[in-house]
Amino acid sequence: MATATKPEPTRRDFLYLATGAVGAVGAAFAAWPFIDQMNPTSAVLALASIEVDISSIQLGQQVVFKWRGHPLFVRRRTPKEIAEARAVPVSELIDPVARNANLPDSAPATDANREFKPEWLVLVGVCTHLGCTPTVSTPQSPQGDYGGWLCHCHGSQYDTAGRVRKGPAPQNLAVPPYSFTSDTKIKVG
């Protein structure tokens, strides 16, 4: 016969194939718990969202909290710092997008897009270069040329809105998902 060169799969072949396939599917399912166990535990997840009290933060002061294992910068900006940040045109920025988890990804990096209330800047304190914690700049101890933060690891500089102004960091400091639950409390995460 013409088709004899390509034999039909016999019942026997199909049986072995099915057995092997079912075994492989079982092994794949069995692997999942061993992979998933490395993900954050329920205890870690329970701390993924925290509430912080910002009532005691003074004008011009930054307080660092811990959120999801990272430093969380809460900075109460002076009118001068706000004005400086607002004066910068977006076109001058290294990273022109807001990097604000509370806004769409495409939002431009205007100062207004970096906060809910002008006075309060809430940032994840992780340098977008390789993860060091930048040092805050104050009038008493200025860090870098932009009045915001200086990362000592490789010299990245951020302005008073936490936007990167000098490399090697490629992005603005991230704004975490947060909201004001009252005038003196924010919920992060």
């Binding site: 026997r12 049986l15 072995y16 099915a18 057995t19 079912v22 075994g23 079982g26 399912f29 329920s42 205890a43 997840l45 329970a46 701390l47 925290i50 509430e51 005691s56």
Partner: protein, 266 residues
């Protein structure tokens, strides 16, 4: 047959051992055996019972017993009492947790009281006493055990805990000496227990109108404590049935393959 003989002798011997010993008033009574919703391979926790049981733990047991391993977020986890996250948050906020040092580095206020903050979901149930010594002092030397694993830590599990909770009603037999400061409970080893009867008819009032007699209260709190000991039981049973079904299929296919391959060889 000659093989069967020694085997039979051993089996006979073992079964004879089961014969009960003579009456002894300090030996505990055999525990009661109750029906639990979480018994058997299909068992699951009864959510309403868990919620009532939690209420009893909160209003009664927690005055003396810690529940160290259970976190507030567990109350909203699947397979648990089924509180919403908001409810669990509110429950957590109702507890005072020892606070972290404040900006002045203090953990005590001016009067020497421990500073506290409201609980959050990530916190565990706070113990009623700061340490073992304080607890023993309060109870004349006895230590109320932590309840996180109590059902697993006792032979008989839920039935044992239920028997203890409902065993206080029985009168000691004539001549039995109830020690000073102890209570008679025939299911407890030695029958002298330091715990006063925790549950009475009407000790708690259930908002769902469930009768609040001792039997019902004990049943609910034991269900809750069983969950505290084994919070993943629902998931375990469900997964177990799936795994078994899969293994039956796989074994069946393997058996057919086996028969096929060996068809001509034996």
């Amino acid at each position: 047959m000659k093989i069967a003989l020694p085997l039979a002798a051993v089996v006979l011997g073992i079964s004879l051992c089961a014969a009960a010993s003579a009456e002894d008033t300090s030996a505990p009574l055999p525990i009661k055996h109750m029906q639990w919703s979480f018994d058997g391979p299909f068992g699951t926790y009864d959510q309403a019972s868990l919620q009532r049981g939690f209420q009893i733990y909160k209003e009664v047991c927690s005055a003396c017993h810690s529940l160290n391993l259970v976190a507030f977020h567990d109350l909203a986890a699947p397979g648990g009492p089924g509180f919403t996250e908001a409810q669990a948050k509110a429950i957590a906020a109702g507890y005072k947790i020892p606070a972290e040092p404040n900006e002045q580095g203090e953990i005590f206020d001016a009067k020497g009281n421990r500073l506290t903050r409201p609980g959050i979901l990530a916190d565990h149930f706070p113990p009623p006493f700061p340490n073992e010594q304080a607890a023993r002092l309060a109870f004349g030397g006895a230590l109320p055990p932590d309840l996180s694993l109590i059902v697993k830590a006792r032979a008989g599990g839920p039935n044992y805990v239920y028997s203890i909770l409902t065993g206080f009603a029985q009168r000691p037999p004539k001549g039995f000496k109830v020690l000073d400061g102890k209570f008679y409970n025939p299911y407890f080893p030695g029958r002298n227990i330091s715990m006063p009867p925790p549950l009475m008819d009407g000790t708690v009032t259930f908002s769902d109108g469930t009768p609040n007699n001792v039997a019902q209260e004990a049943h609910d709190v034991v269900t809750f404590l069983s969950w505290a000991s084994e919070p993943n039981l629902d998931q375990r049973h469900r997964m177990g049935l799936e795994v078994m079904a899969f293994l039956v299929l796989l074994s069946g296919l393997l058996f057919l393959s086996y028969r096929k391959i060996w068809k001509d060889e034996h």
